[in-house]
Amino acid sequence: MNHTAIFTVLFIAALGIFCTLAWRRLSLIVLGKAEDRFDHLSTRLWDMLLFAFGQKRVVARPFGINHFVIFWSFIILLLANGEFIVNGIFPKVSLRLLPVAIHGPLLFLFDVVSLLALVCVAIAAGRRLFFKFDYQDTLYVKRRSFEGFLILAFIALLMLAYFGIHGAEIAMGAEPLSGWMPLSRFAAGLFGCGGGCAKCGVLPWLIFYWWLHAGVLLAFLVFLPMSKHMHILTAIPNCFFQSLEKPNTLLREEFVKENSYGVEKVDDFTWKDLLDSFSCTECGRCQDSCPAQLTGKSLNPRQVVHSLKTNLMANIAGLKSGSVLKMPLIGGEGEGTNTEETIWACTTCGACLEACPVMIEQMPKILKMRRHLVQMKSEFPEELINLFENMEQRSNPWGIAPTERSKWSTTMAIRNFEAGETEYLFYIGCAGAFDSRQKHVTVALATILDAAGISWGVLGKEEKCCGDSARRLGNEYLFDRMAKENVELFTSKKIAKVITQCPHCFSTLKNDYRQYGLEIEVIHHSELLQQLLADGRIKPNRKVTELGSVVYHDSCYLGRHNDIYDEPRQVIEAVTGDKPHEMERSREKGFCCGAGGGRMWMEEHTGERINITRVTEALEQKPDTICVACPYCMTMFEDGVKDKGAANVRIRDIAEVVAEGLRPV
């Protein structure tokens, strides 16, 4: 048999194995529930170019540039490797058929790119061997995995073989375009004869490198679908099918008899969730940014995605035949399952979503499992039963009488919202109405609204809770009811513009209620204050200097969930004259206060408390004042500074800072 025949047979075999293994995995994706991810195709296409081909998030960290180079080398060398395979089967077909003006530059490009890839592989190996990792192992995924090194070795061997083949060809004088190939020419020199002689024993080397290249290429093809490097196939479509909704705006559920709710088994997830699990290359960036993970909880977003894939693979037989599944998704032990503690540890801060280079949606998967636990099993931390009943019966988390909703206003006159007479509804929110600390913020904001001459009114005792905590805790049935009540109330009162002081109310009214057909203008007070100051509608009477050095803490639901980063900072600067100091983790990388996702109402038994970690980080900036823009952050920081014995550090909402500047001198 000649080379061509042997290679043809091997290639067909490798391709067969590749297709079988890839199909075995990818065909599982259709087991997931339906979800429409085919809308807004032009946005999707652009996002795919930006995140997959532009590697926007990959390069956000230093070693990401390394990946960028390997990725693009891979894309460019697809052409070279494609030629290699075609030429191996049909020796007469090659890029040499192209005009020299095209072929020459291509060879130059292949040469350069192969060297770059080789350098980056060396850096990647060095990183794994010599650098301290910024995230830890998980039980099932190691930082220094054999798999990782094997892939690096494959790439390195491919590049070396490339230079081996072309160096040998040049040495034998068989490469007329060697002028375009400086690096291969250098390699040719290593064969000892500088090129031009066909008789000095280079031919066996050519054959060796050719088969090395062929062998590694085919081994890579076979190994790919078995490993986490499957992401080479799935990451690009995963970026295309990413969620265009705000990440915590989960799909609504339909409450009719015979339906089941949330995710109990792996095939209760949508096809996109399953695709996510095959797109994860276990880089660990989500793990490295998760507040639960970093404070010693069992939740690790990387592990959640990993468990999905493991569970799916372990249950193939049961899933396909509809029989009993071998491995539970929730409550089992070991790889491929999630404990209830893990599921309840999430603060829905969205740091994992922000970190993932391939747009995997980790947090929504956790919420889907919560939906199952709450709605199908009534299993949840016992603190939550009071919360759910309070929200259901009295429409606020504390269970305080709705008639007390306007008690914050004992010292000022307030008006009820009247359509046609009042322009803005000031949606006070439960914390603003009932939390004794947050009531000060409500008064401050109301004072500012009056000072700016804004026409505003309240709903008083008719105001209802927005239902944020219910939704993030998986009690979709309760949320659904509360959302419908609110949408009806807002519609009947002809409310078109709403001011909120709570990022959770803000995000819920703005993003979640759109699913219920409510399209209104929702403004968080940070945006409003920024606008009023910029327009000169409120003018501080003096620079507020008594706050001293100010640090600003980003609320997750304001920042990551709604992209409001600059406005609160500009407000602080306008009133105090100085830019606020930044913590090490701020803006998109901001670290949660620990209260989101309904965690406000739960005890924190494991590890260090998230708010203590965050307050410690804030105190590193030696602030006199920590500024927040969210009632939950307010509570967590007020408690945190007291726990840390730093009660001399003031916690202020940005509205209080502005109100201070408006006091008569």
Partner: protein, 270 residues
Amino acid sequence: MQIVACIKQVPDTTQVQIDPVTNTLIREGIPFIVNPYDTHAIEESLRLKDQFGTFVTAISMGPPNAEATLRKALAVGVDRAILLSDRVFGGADTLATSNVLTEAIRKLGETDEVGIIFCGKQTIDGDTAQVGPGIATRLGCTQLTLVDKILELDLEKRKIKVSRKLEGRHEIVESPLPVLITVVRELNRPRYPTVPSRLASFEKEVELWNNQTLKLDEQSIGLKGSPTWVNRIFSPERDKGELIGDGVNDPVGTANLLIDRLLAKDLLSL
């Protein structure tokens, strides 16, 4: 054998207001809830159902809108719900109420023997704690009040052993069935309804029993059957608060101002 849970719809007492003229509760616009102690009575019935497979019936006497309370019981899984509602039942005190409930339980017992009756230890609106014992007296069965734990239940030997939570001590007592038990909140943690169980409850019927069903003498029920007379109910007035001083710029002065005010009203014993 069936278990009966007696439950009551009560106004959410954190939101109760009283009509200054009639001295009665203003019921309009105030949300109603299941009497919190009764939710523990329902829960204990359901736990016995889970354990022994006994049939659970919830009954409630009240106006037609008290159906919502029974719906909540159905949502968590009781098998049957009966609303005892009739104009002639209205205005009842604890004696007249226990007459109606007793007759209803007797009637239930005609088709399936009632082994255990659960009541909350009291309601949060009247707070008398009389209806449970009243029913037991009229039925002539044992009453075990203030139960915080069921220690043993033997359906074969028809025996129950419970712990009663008394002031500073517990009492372990045993009784033959049938028995009426009033429960305290320590007994259990009421379950939260699952969504399928809620949806299923929408299809169940709340049966309505009036006095044509019970055929009680009108002199023993409702206002006529109630010897208790309410003279006056009132709530103490609370004035609006007032901000004094400037706590931000002058905390010491403000604190002194507060102390002076409190002394002036003789609220600090110095």
